[in-house]
């Protein structure tokens, strides 16, 4: 296991090199220029050149890349061009709402997918299964900004049950915080629930057809106990996998949800940075998101291998 982790960590290095060069070249290739954007009202080309020089943007690209990597190696992600704040501070402040949102979305998705998934699997091909399938698919059949707007309309405007926009930190004010994240968490959670329900349903179905389950049944165990004691435990493995992988994606991938609900998360940070061509910020945030994604993958793999010793990595 230790060897595996080490190997996987080493394999991360080339991936990170690819990510850094990828994000660097992509954002620099994108037409537009941070100084132009920042000094839109200035008519003074000389001033703009001076600022470019000050930021090192007048250097050849490879020089800029090397100096960025040079600073990266010293754990310096640089500062935002736009507002001078160190990239790392930008991210640490924004990661909190993102993580909280991701966790809540997962809770929502589990609350939906567990009953639905288990019922679907145990009542395969019954109307209940059909209904469950439809229900599960609901969340991935609409663009999530539309789901968000519909939720806002019903729960925020019509019913006035929940706040519509803005973020309150649940660590500071638990009730208000959870309320502020509820609608966004449902938006994300519905889509995630679709994924989990399917995963759970098929893995349960598979487990239920395994020999040891048949044996348990043959011994005359009640179906409910079979499911609870034998099937569920093993059927959960893929669910854990999917959840782990989704977590990484949710952190940086909730851009649209963050926009609609005006939440200060990481996804919005990076998209805004792309729009203002804030090179160091885009590069830094993408790198950190990628790192988070890779690590969560690694954790999932390790946990998975540990849960199921039959798995060997080739």
């Amino acid at each position: 296991m230790g060897r595996l982790v080490l190997r996987r960590l080493l394999a991360t290095i080339p991936v990170l090199v690819l990510v850094t060069s990828g994000v660097f070249s992509l954002i620099h290739l994108t037409p537009g220029d941070p100084v132009e954007a920042m000094m839109a009202e200035s008519q003074d080309p000389v001033a703009k050149e001076a600022v470019r020089a000050q930021l090192g943007l007048d250097q050849p690209l490879y020089v800029q890349y090397v100096s960025w990597i040079g600073r990266l190696v010293q754990a310096d992600l640089g500062r935002s061009i736009r507002n001078h704040e160190p990239v790392i501070e930008n991210v640490t402040r924004r990661i909190r709402p993102s993580v909280q949102l991701a966790l809540m979305a997962m809770l929502v998705s589990l609350a939906v997918s567990f009953p639905v998934g288990i019922l679907s699997a145990t009542h395969r091909n019954s109307p209940l299964d059909g209904f469950g399938t439809l229900f599960a698919l609901f969340g991935i059949c609409m663009p999530n900004f539309l789901i968000a707007l519909l939720l806002i309309f019903f729960f925020g405007v019509t019913m006035r049950w929940l706040p519509i926009s803005g973020y309150v930190d649940p660590l500071e004010d638990p009730l208000a915080g959870i309320r502020s994240l509820t609608l966004p968490a449902i938006t994300l959670g519905l889509a995630l629930a679709a994924v989990i329900t399917r995963t759970l349903r098929s893995s349960l179905l598979e487990v239920l057809s395994e020999d040891y389950v048949r044996t348990a049944r043959a011994k005359g165990l009640a179906e409910r106990l079979v499911v609870r004691h034998h099937a569920l435990k093993n059927g959960l493995i893929p669910v854990v996998t999917v959840l782990g992988l989704q977590f990484g994606t949710l952190i940086g991938g909730a851009v649209i949800t963050e926009y609609v609900f005006a939440l200060p998360g990481v996804g919005r940070l990076v998209v805004d940075a792309v729009f203002s061509r804030d090179y160091p910020l885009v590069q830094g945030v993408v790198l950190l998101i990628a790192l988070g994604f890779i690590l969560s993958n690694l954790v999932v793999d390790v946990v998975y291998g540990w849960l199921d010793p039959r798995i060997r990595y080739g």
């Binding site: 290739l29 991935i140 663009p143 994924v195 179905l205 893929p238 991938g253 790192l291 798995i311």
Partner: protein
């Protein structure tokens, strides 16, 4: 568990490819004849509905000019936001265009967006996965690390940046989505190839001196193709949704051409005063994506014999 455990699951963030296959992708043993599969797939609960929906969508796309009651670009400012009913079955939008006509023509763009981006991803991804899995070694390392890198990029940012570099418009979106979905296919294909390569009959063929291309053509591709098809049908549904998300961010088809995504995006400010602008394309999108999911699920179930309980 090691192999079939990982159902083809999908991601929640709309843009992300349904990539998560679990650590060890499935090698589905496909020894049945195809028609058996088809029959089994059709017997699955929602499959006929799904198939019908997809068929109708394709027909609508092809026959759009015949079916459409109006020119989808014809404006009538004086008659904007007209309610559904009467001359305009689904109402008119904010410049007085017929929503139904736009939904019908939008089918084309949405299906093309789904089909082409998935085709790009499936082709490129399969080739990479095939090469990586079959020949292994350096090629495997490079290709798979590259795929890991693409996968670890936040997908929306990747699409946004690619779209900006490639220029706005459908082409940019197709390529961007294609790139985002490629790793899924590459990983899937590689897993298939590794599993198949280890089979006795493939070993035997190799020992008998069969050339690589022959082994690939005769044994590997036929066996690996079906999971790719399943993945493609599910990715297809996602790509259609992703087109909508990208138009939210300003990437996508250029106005005034209609696509479901751009229509929903343009209409989302009118949810309160004129919800039909969104409901037309939203409904079409919902039904089509649902249909595609049914089809994908059915094929997958059919392919996995253990699920016959």
């Amino acid at each position: 568990m090691a192999d079939a455990s990982a159902p083809l699951s999908r991601q929640s963030s709309v843009l992300s490819p349904p990539s998560v296959l679990g650590p060890q992708p499935t090698a589905v043993r496909v020894r049945e004849r195809r028609w058996v599969l088809v029959r089994r797939a059709l017997s699955a609960r929602f499959a006929p509905v799904g198939g019908l929906v997809v068929l109708v969508a394709v027909l609508v796309a092809v026959l759009a000019p015949v079916l459409s009651p109006y020119d989808p670009l014809q404006q009538d400012l004086a008659n904007s936001l007209a309610r559904p009913g009467g001359a305009h079955l689904l109402g008119t939008d904010n410049v007085g265009r017929d929503v139904l006509a736009r939904v019908i023509f939008g089918t084309r763009v949405s299906l093309i967006a789904g089909a082409v981006s998935v085709a790009i991803a499936a082709l490129v991804g399969s080739l990479l996965g095939l090469g990586a899995g079959y020949w292994g070694g350096r090629l495997d390392d490079v290709a798979m690390r590259l795929m890991d890198a693409v996968l670890s990029f936040p997908p929306l940012v990747l699409a946004l940046a690619l779209g900006a570099v490639l220029g706005a418009g459908l082409t940019g979106v197709l390529i961007a989505l294609g790139v985002v979905y490629t790793p899924t296919f590459a990983r899937l294909m590689r897993g298939q190839v590794l599993a198949i390569k280890a089979r006795d009959y493939v070993e035997a063929a190799r020992l008998l001196g069969a050339p690589n291309w022959w082994i690939v053509k005769r044994h590997v591709l036929p066996n690996a193709a079906t999971p790719i098809v399943v993945q493609a049908s599910l990715s297809f549904a996602f790509a259609i949704l992703a087109e909508a998300s990208l138009s939210f961010l300003g990437l996508g088809i250029q106005p005034p051409q209609p696509s479901w995504g751009s229509m929903i995006n343009a209409g989302r400010g009118y949810l309160q005063q004129a919800p039909w602008i969104v409901f037309g394309p939203g409904g079409a999108l919902f039904v089509t994506v649902l249909g595609l999911n049914f089809v994908g699920d059915a094929i997958r179930d059919a392919l996995d014999p253990r699920l016959r309980v």
